[in-house]
Amino acid sequence: MTISAPTPNQVFTIFPGVQSYTQFLFGTTSTFGGISSLTATLNGVPVVFTTSDSARWW
């Protein structure tokens, strides 16, 4: 199971008032099971992922 993009430990520089978009790509080599969830925290606080692709996660 990997998170292939963005590159691990990547640094993003953003600016107030300027929207920035990043797509996360993740996958698995497992034949069964796949991936059921992708969660995140920002400074320890849960981040909401907005996606319409959840049905395609596995």
Binding site: I3, I14, V48, W58
Partner: protein, 138 residues
Amino acid sequence: MTGSTSPNFGLNATGTYTLVVTATNPYGTSSTQTTYTIVNAVPTPTIFIDDPDPNQVFEHTVGTPALNIGFFFTATTTPGFTISDVSATLDGAPVSIDTIAGLGSVSATGTDSLAAVPTGTHTLRAYGVSAGLPSQAQ
């Protein structure tokens, strides 16, 4: 098997943030975690005086007309922001700028001539403002 998604969050305060992303399989028996750093920075306008050169020496011959020294400077800010104002001073006193171009864009210029500059050492400073944040060069 692959998927993609995007987080959606707003960062109002400047600073450095740590984003930790975790992918988990349906059984909760396998997961992977990746850490990213997000730097929420302020735009950094930069000013460059193209003319005259730093420490440039101008010679004036007694009995000839006083020196008029042209100047030209450029203010550039971070992409996504604009330069809202430029100005200049000579020895701390404001000077007029005859031609200002590019306000409202990422880069603006100021051009004029310093009239009848007296003998001595002088300091020309140029200023630019982006997102309410001033910056200067001399």
